[in-house]
Each structure stands twice: as C-alpha cells, then as structure tokens.
C-alpha cells in the first residue's frame, strides 16, 4: 500500500487546485494523516474511495476534536561563543504566537477489498463560532451517517449535504455542544460523600449558588429535610 506521502502526492497530481497537507504523528504509532481542503474534500474523498490502488471502501470511524484558541510559545536557542574562551552562552528567545481555534473531524478509512488501511483524513473548520461547516462525506461512505450526526450533536460541526443532520444523542431543543472544551454543564450537582477533589469543587460551586452549606465553607447547614428520602 502507498505511504501517506505517496497518497498525498497522487492527490495533488490529480487535483492541483486542492490543498492537502501531511499531519505527522510524533508518537510511536506514527499514524500520519492527511489534512484535506474542505472545498475539495468531496472530490478528494471520492478519489480515495474509487482509486483502484487504494479502494478505501469502508469508513470505520469518524471522530470530532475541539481545538480551542491557544497561545503557543516557541523557544529558539542561540549559542553565543564566549570570546574569552569559556563555555558558550546559550540565549533562549521566546516568541508567543496565537493559534486560533478550530474544530476537526477525523475519518479512519480502510479497504475491505484490498485488506489494507487505515488511511486517516482530517477536515478542519475555519473557526469555532460561525465558520463551522464542513462537507459531509456520508454520500461517499454511508457508515459516516450516525457518526457525523454525533459530531454535529456534541461538537457543533455542520456537515453540509448530510442527508439527515439531526442531533443524535441529546434532544432537539438542546442548544449546547457538550464535547467542546468550553462547555459549561448545568448546575444540578449536589453534595456527595466522596473524597474526590474535583467532585468536591463542583459541589462547592453548586453550594455557593444555593446556600453556603459545605463543611468549611460557611455556617452550619440547615437541618436535613430529606434525610429519610433515601432509606
């Protein structure tokens, strides 16, 4: 099977106007992926499916990723030799660059016919607020249907040309996208007897809204009205 680089080169040779980038995976798995240009993604994906050498006829998995805005600090080290003959001085220069956030959909493609794969392709939205549309690949791989609906539900990516784009897990009236990093969950969390620090913080936040009644955070609590509610 072709390497990811070879697939990228063939895609670029076939579609010169398209933009295809290699996203490397620095881990030991080294599963590199292809970042496709959303404007040409449909044609590129169709090529991947129908190319006789690839025949990626099966999409096994579609995943969403939320990449929030973040500041990346680049450190460049310059070595200045000491003119007096001592050890050279290392000067670190830090530059902070802002990377605007975006949403991403990742498709894992296999070929059942040729028993090969996976080839991983990625699509990225323009931003996280108003430019969240991506072309749907459900017309190409039918198995993307529910998984794209799930991504639409939980991340808020709008898949254009999807045949049935509705929420999959949450109800239709729901407005949020729970898998986004900045999702604020509803405050319906009461006290729970646990030593888990994160849970206690959550319960304290809830108690601060209702009454300051947690141990160490306020006066003595009101008498338990429902102590017998759960025998």
């Amino acid at each position: 099977m072709d390497t990811v680089e070879q697939i990228r080169d063939r895609l670029l040779a076939r579609f010169p106007a398209a933009r295809v980038e290699l996203v490397t995976n620095p881990g030991t798995a080294a599963e590199h992926s292809l970042l496709l240009d959303p404007a040409h993604a449909h044609d590129l994906a169709l090529f991947l499916r129908d190319d006789p050498a690839l025949q990626l006829d099966y999409c096994s998995n579609v995943t969403g990723i939320d990449w929030p805005d973040k500041d990346i600090t680049d450190v460049t080290k310059t070595t200045i030799p000491d003119p007096a003959g001592g050890p050279p001085k290392v000067v670190e220069q830090k530059t902070v660059r802002h990377q605007p956030g975006f949403l991403e959909a990742v498709y894992h493609l296999y070929s059942i016919a040729l028993k090969q794969g996976p080839v991983i392709i990625r699509l990225r939205t323009a931003n996280r607020t108003d430019g969240v549309a991506l072309p749907s690949l459900t017309p190409i791989w039918r198995s993307c249907d529910f998984q794209e609906r799930e991504i639409f539900d939980l991340f808020g990516i709008i898949f254009e040309r999807h045949p049935d784009l509705r929420r999959l897990l949450m109800w239709d009236e729901f407005k949020d996208h729970p898998m986004r990093k900045d999702y604020v969950e509803p405050d319906d969390y009461e006290w729970e007897p646990t030593a888990h620090a994160a849970v206690l913080e959550k319960a304290k936040a809830h108690a601060a809204v209702s009454v300051a009644s947690l141990p160490g955070s306020g006066p003595a609590p009101a008498p338990a009205k429902s102590a017998e509610a759960k025998p």
Partner: protein, 224 residues
C-alpha cells in the same frame, strides 16, 4: 401470613394486622383446627403482594440482570412477579433498571403516570438511584427519585438477580403491612395523594425543572 409473632401475651392485643382482639397464638390454635381467621385487609394485601406485575422495559445493563431474574435459573415466578406487562395500564410495578438519561427521563415519568394505582417503583442499581458512575456527567439524571416516588432502592452495579428478588420480597413485605383505612392508610387509598407527577420538558441546557421539589430535595452535607 405465617409470620411468627414475637411472644404475644394474651392480655395485650397482638400487632398483627388481622388480629383485632385475638392474639396470634390463638389464631394459630384455631388454624390447627381448620378455622382460618383473617381480615379483608390481610387477604387483599396477600393477594396483591403475591401477584405483582412489573412493567416490561429496561434501560441499561441492569435490565440484563432483571431478565436473568425472570429466567429459569433465578425464576422470579416463585414470587408471583413473572408476568412482565408491555403496557403500563396493566402493570403494578415499575422496575427502573438502569441509567436514566435526561432524554429518557420524561418518558419514564410519563409511563409512571400511565400506570394505575396501586403502583410501586423499584430503583434498581446505582444509576437509577443516583446517576451512579455517570453522576458527574451532564446527560444522566441523578436519580429517578427526583421525579417519581421510589419504594425500594436496590444498590449494585448492576445488582445480581438475587438482589432484585430480595428487593421484590422487601416490596412484598411493604405491601403486606399497608393499611387500607385509618390515618396511616396506604397512599393509593387516599384520594388527595398524587398519582401523577409533572413531566419535565426538554430545555435548552437541561431538563426543566431539574427535579420535583414535592418528591425530592437534595440531601444536606453533614456539618463539619
């Protein structure tokens, strides 16, 4: 019916529901002579408690254990509760067996409202009791008792079929002890006690309301 009375004295009236002025030892004595003394209340509760028809629905993995309890190995038919009804109109018992997601909660409450009185509810497993391992999430109801009254809580994740049978036996004991008249009469005999409960609606961020304060209020943390 054959519960041994705790050392009844002939003078004091026994606390057994059917006793009246006759003690349990006297009743046992009469029974040995072929005379059965009972009351309408006892007979009624005996019949109801040994013929509890559960509603046939399952929500998560606890439902698998509930199904196992209905099979030959555990055989819930020994306790007269083997007739799982597919219609809430014919069911006496709602076994909330598993995780109640917020999307499912209004439907469970609606099913409860459609069941005729007298009706009972068993919260089976950690999820139905409190949300269980999903309590810290956004999409699981933190206990079905926030919307409907629960009679028996069965802990476990999931509870074994024996635990469900034990819960059923506990419910039978509860039914057998119910009074039909008087100030402490059972809930279903009192017309003013609610039989239907408000169904929450799907909101933009959560269920609205998130709980029924008439049924449930949050536990207070212990004072420091």
């Amino acid at each position: 019916m054959s519960d041994p009375a705790p050392t009844p004295s002939p003078a004091a009236p026994a606390p057994f529901p059917a006793a009246g002025n006759i003690s349990d030892t006297d009743r046992e004595d009469l029974r040995r002579h072929g005379i059965l003394m009972t009351s309408m209340e006892e007979l009624y509760n005996w019949g109801r408690s040994n013929s509890i028809w559960p509603l046939q629905f399952g929500l998560a993995c606890c439902a698998i254990e509930m199904i196992a309890a209905a099979t030959a190995r555990f055989d819930i038919a020994r306790f007269g509760a083997e007739i799982f009804r597919p219609s809430p109109r014919q069911a006496d018992l709602m076994i909330v067996s598993g995780t109640v997601t917020k999307k499912m909660a209004p439907l469970v409450v609606r099913l409860w409202n459609q069941m005729p009185e007298p009706k009972y509810c068993i919260a089976m497993g950690a999820c139905a009791i409190s949300g269980g391992p999903f309590k810290q999430g956004y999409n699981v109801l933190k206990g079905i008792d926030r919307f409907i009254p629960v009679d028996i809580y069965i802990p476990g994740c999931p509870p074994r079929p024996e635990a469900l049978l034990n819960g059923l036996v506990q419910l039978q004991k509860k039914i057998k002890a119910e009074k039909l008249t008087g100030p402490d009469a059972a809930r279903h005999t009192r017309p003013e006690a609610p039989s239907e409960f408000p169904i929450p609606v799907y909101g933009a961020h959560d269920l609205e309301p998130t709980k029924n304060p008439a049924v449930w209020s949050p536990p207070s943390p212990p004072s420091a």
